[in-house]
Subunit: 363 residues, 2 copies
């Protein structure tokens, strides 16, 4: 039975990506070999990683000013690796405490350097992007760190801060989902599996000038960006199959017709869902309107009983993965690039039917 | 056309593992979901990782004296992470320079602590396990590091050192291939993809007493073994599909009938191949007899011309992945658990046919 999978991640992938990946596991392009059992240094795999890199550059319209790396693990590793590589001993970073992932990144960076948190939205349980009273950065600030989309609280930067240092961004949950003001970004990292690939791989974009300063700190070779730049991500056996699935997802992304088009599709999908949440008497939104995420739509039922009932009702309708994160509660519908509009409509229809069937209970 | 794949890694996997993994990507156990698109915290995935952990323990006959972790990335990361977690500032480690992977591990550990290299076989291009004149370890020695099998040079420890500190072992290329004197080992790590799983995941066994001492060093949370022990490898989104393929390979391993049986199968496969190398006039072995690897059989042709000819001949017979590593040259046939005896015989037959066809050239 087909499921409508709103999981926040690992999340649904385009059907064609799953089918091609599945086929590649058995016999890659009629080579008589599984794509998972060929050397990462073989010409077959070199073509895969080079095409994936080229597609990231093509989709974002970047050239050689950035290095594109494919590193094992997820964003939590980059939260340590980025400051380790970029911030010298007397330097600091600045950021906003926007939610769960910003908090984890602050904790990780604080093990390595000073972190200036300019503002927090903790008081309102991270239902919005906080606005600092003062954007003035200390002269020691190496970069400004942002989590472009907070999956757990369902908020997103729709405009990125304009500051006099480069942005370093965790874009795990909205990579490849919209055009970017690239001139603002020094480093962008995004781990699969939301808008590309399968879990176990992270794509890191590093603007070349970010590594020209000297960082006086022992950086283990394996966690040194320079190592991986020098070896084109092949210093070690890279996660070959996760990279192959990333390539398949990138091809699919390109075929959608560009980031403008993807962004407008994504915006339409979540606009319809937020509209339903705003008007349906059984549900209420969580994030403030201006900061609502286009990727993760978080909402509550009007009572714990309603939430339990709708969860059961959704499951009966093959809608899965919509439980909110415990710190937020309620529901979270994650709607990444691969989620078709039809599936969003299935959820909207379920909410409407639920409302009709339960009308008496609040009449 | 079926290939006989002797790749050193990513290497061939059992056909049933590839088929089940391929099917799971489309629809996992009739859930209507791909195994790659479910949350790492979902009951479905928790069952997968728990079964994988239980199988590692069952196959090695260990109980709760070890923690079993599933960490992203490969062995090169553990070469830094292990000393970072285990060796305090004034402590050191001891090791033998056995080949390529020992050299990389020495370089990685030297970024973190003192490393005493007791012996090297560099003078003979790492064709053997070196024997120290003196096994006496300095009192600061925290552990003795071994690469149980050197894939590139084709040598293997058939007996592990007996020292008064625990062994920490990179077992990437012979994990699950033979019984172990477990009482000697404090930490064992092995990255896929040789004897289990697909690249992007590392299994780490940590004897609980290894983490009782205090290490006064900043360890980033994400690289701290304690973090992952506390969170049962789910501190972050772990590489879910690589772990699922590991589970499939572990089930296959268990079905082989135990490590004794696997070891005797492995030994027989390579015994036949070494026998052919020793007697075939066109080939010669590389490693000294007593240290020859049961996993990676390295050999040379009698001349550069012979090597080029046999490489072509092998390809014509659908034998792939047998090029030796550049520092060693010649050929390397990697024969992990999943390699059937029949495939080894295909290679042996090709060597015999090649010898017959070229007899005139040396007569």
């Amino acid at each position: 039975m087909k499921k409508y999978n709103f999981s926040p991640g690992p999340a649904m992938l385009p059907q064609i990506v799953l089918e091609e990946a599945s086929q590649g596991l058995i016999d890659y392009n009629n080579t008589g070999l599984s794509v998972a059992e060929i050397s990462h240094r073989s010409p077959i795999f070199l073509n895969i990683i080079e095409e994936a890199t080229a597609l990231v550059k093509e989709i974002y319209g970047i050239k050689d000013e950035y290095d594109v790396l494919w590193l094992p693990g997820g964003a939590s590793a980059q939260m340590a690796i980025a400051p380790m590589n970029l911030v010298d001993k007397r330097q600091s970073i600045a950021t906003l405490e926007t939610g769960f992932w910003a908090k984890r990144a602050i904790t990780a960076a604080e093990q390595i350097c000073r972190v200036n948190v300019l503002a927090t939205s903790k008081e309102t349980n991270f239902d919005r992007i906080p606005h600092p009273k003062n954007w003035k950065l200390s002269s020691s600030t190496r970069y400004f760190y942002v989590v472009s989309n907070e999956t757990i609280e369902g908020i997103q930067f729709h405009q990125f801060p304009s500051v006099n240092v480069p942005l370093v961004a965790d874009m795990t949950s909205d990579f490849l989902s919209r055009p970017l003001p690239l001139e603002k970004f020094g480093v962008i990292f995004a781990s699969a599996q939301k808008n590309f690939g399968i879990a176990g791989i992270t794509c890191v974009l590093i603007r070349k000038d970010m590594l020209t300063n000297t960082v006086r700190r022992m950086i283990p070779n394996i966690f040194n960006y320079r190592t991986h730049i020098e070896h084109h991500s092949l210093f070690h056996t890279c996660p070959t199959f996760p990279i192959y699935t990333s390539l398949l997802a990138l091809r699919w992304t390109k075929n959608q017709g560009g980031l403008d088009k993807i962004h407008s599709q994504n915006s339409e999908k979540t606009r319809l869902l937020y509209e339903e949440i705003d008007q349906n008497p059984f549900f209420k939104p969580i994030a403030v309107k201006e900061d609502r995420s286009v990727m993760n739509v978080c909402f509550r039922g009007i009572s714990p009983a309603t939430e339990a009932q709708f969860m059961t009702f959704a499951e009966q309708n093959n809608i899965v993965g919509i439980a909110g994160y415990p710190t937020v509660g309620g529901f979270r519908a994650s709607i990444y690039n691969a989620m078709p509009l039809e599936n969003v409509n299935v959820l909207i229809n379920a909410m409407q039917t639920f409302a009709t069937e339960n009308e008496h209970s609040i009449s």
